[in-house]
């Protein structure tokens, strides 16, 4: 059998791995968005002692996430969750590790988007009598997502590209599947090139999806 045939023969397995890659990434992205927003709100908080403490915790967390290797974070989360006790699947702890990591990056992106909004626009809101909540919902948030969408997209793609690292904690996603197939068939480069192409297609599709969404928002 030729190499190409072998790869096609195992394609269903690769696609099964891809399914896990996509599932783990989507779940991680959604949770990371929530974490990112939460951290952002916390960091924009007031100057009272409690909010200063929470702010400091958020800042330390974000620095830690940004300043340590993802692989190390994945090991820590996996082992820590195992010690704490809940009997989580490796898939779940993988999702948690990726979300905690990406949430820190997203918080930083969102803060950048918020500080990019000129202070004058916010004052104009106050000047016509808006409340803080109205300032957020009517002026800041509608603009933030437009401003940060390109960077957030890169972060979404980053989550997909980091997901192979979960193979170290036994999540059988696309890369891990390919590794297994390489071990059993002794065909190396063609398998890796195949999954590279698959990753590329997924990321390109995601990018197109976001662009399409952005065009739709602008058209409104």
């Amino acid at each position: 059998m030729g190499t190409v045939e072998v790869i096609f023969q195992y394609m269903p397995l690769l696609l099964k791995g891809l399914r896990y890659t996509i599932l783990v990434s989507i779940e991680a992205i959604i949770i990371a968005l929530c974490i990112g927003m939460l951290l952002t709100v916390v960091r924009m908080g007031g100057n009272s002692l409690p909010s200063r403490i929470v702010k400091t915790i958020a800042n330390v967390y974000i620095s830690f996430v940004r300043g340590t290797p993802v692989l190390v974070q994945i090991y820590i989360i996996y082992q820590a969750l195992a010690v704490i006790g809940p009997n989580l699947s490796s898939f779940t702890s993988g999702v948690i590790a990726l979300s905690l990591n990406s949430g820190g990056f997203m918080a930083e992106i969102m803060r950048g988007g918020i500080t990019a909004i000129p202070k004058g626009q916010i004052e104009a809101g106050y000047a016509i009598g808006m409340s803080k909540r109205q300032i957020w919902t009517r002026i800041i948030l509608p603009q933030v997502f437009r401003v940060v969408m390109p960077q957030l997209t890169s972060e979404f793609i980053n989550v997909i590209k980091v997901s192979p690292m979960l193979s170290v904690v036994a999540v059988v996603e696309l890369t891990r599947t390919a590794q297994r197939l390489v071990n059993s068939t002794y065909i190396t480069i063609p398998f890796y090139i195949t999954i590279a192409i698959i990753y590329f297609i997924v990321c390109a599709l995601l990018e197109e999806l976001v662009k399409w969404q952005k065009r739709r928002m602008l058209a409104k």
């Binding site: 000129p118 626009q121 104009a124 000047a127 016509i128 002026i139 603009q143 437009r146």
Partner: protein, 259 residues
């Protein structure tokens, strides 16, 4: 010097400091209904800070400001007291519009949406009514054709006229203008000043921080010259421009007016 005997804005002993820097020093000023007051003076004299204290965009370090019966009090250190001032500020802002140097339109909203935002969101006016009113106001400032445009598609002068319409949409009893023409290309200054003159004629109470001495002389009932956090001159345009009492004002005018 007043058009009416009604004091609508009363400032008593107002001081404002940023740390060690005293920007406003014990300012007293009564402004009457329908009066057009221009505040002039060199950069850093405290003009804009004074204006921004009036609608509580800046907190007060000391003193009192009463506007249409709502009173802000400084200093406010306790949390509750600061909250009280916030509440008062909300009432004041319902009555007092503001126009900024940088226009500060919301770029994600069209011209029309910028104008109806206040009435619909704050005053809970029905959207159709607000649109009707907004169209009238845009007509008034000569911007009706651009109702569907985004602010970024407009010139500075056009943006500022929209900003004035946005302030008017709240049906304010007074409007604060913070250097409304300073960020404009010279060719667009007059279109904005003309709208302001129109408002003055209609009897709107206006406080205008400006470098446009022509406007100050021609349109205002009263000119205040500020320097170093003090109001050094306060009188009719003739009194202040022709017979300034202080050397500082004389010096300032001799530099900017060729008289």
């Amino acid at each position: 010097m007043s058009k009416s005997e009604n004091i609508v804005i009363s400032v008593k002993n107002l001081s404002k400091s940023y740390g060690e820097l005293d920007v406003l020093k014990k300012i007293d000023m009564d402004i009457y209904e329908g009066q057009v007051v221009t505040i002039i003076g060199p950069s850093g004299s405290g003009k804009s800070t004074f204006l921004r204290c009036l609608n509580y965009l800046e907190t007060l370090t000391d003193g009192e400001i009463s506007i249409f019966g709502n009173t802000l009090v400084g200093p406010k250190e306790s949390k509750q007291a600061a909250k009280d001032n916030e509440k008062v500020a909300k009432e004041i802002r319902k009555n007092v519009g503001m126009v900024f140097q940088q226009f500060n339109l919301w770029p994600h909203k069209t011209v029309l949406e910028n104008v109806i935002e206040g009435p619909v969101q704050i005053k809970k006016v029905k959207k159709e009514e607000a649109i009707k009113k907004a169209e009238e106001l845009l007509e008034k400032v000569g911007m009706k054709e651009k109702a569907g445009a985004l602010p970024t598609q407009l010139s500075g002068g056009q943006q500022q006229r929209v900003a004035i319409a946005r302030a008017l949409a709240m049906e304010p009893k007074a409007i604060l203008f913070d250097e409304p023409t300073s960020a404009l290309d010279p060719e667009f200054v007059n279109e904005v000043l003309n709208v302001m003159k129109e408002l003055a004629k209609e009897g709107m109470t206006m406080i205008v921080v400006t470098h446009e001495m022509g406007f100050a002389a021609e349109v205002s009932d009263r000119v205040c010259f500020m320097d170093g956090g003090y109001v050094l001159e306060d009188g009719t345009p003739d009194e202040v421009f022709k017979n300034p009492k202080t050397d500082r004002a004389k010096q300032f005018f001799s530099k900017i007016l060729n008289v």
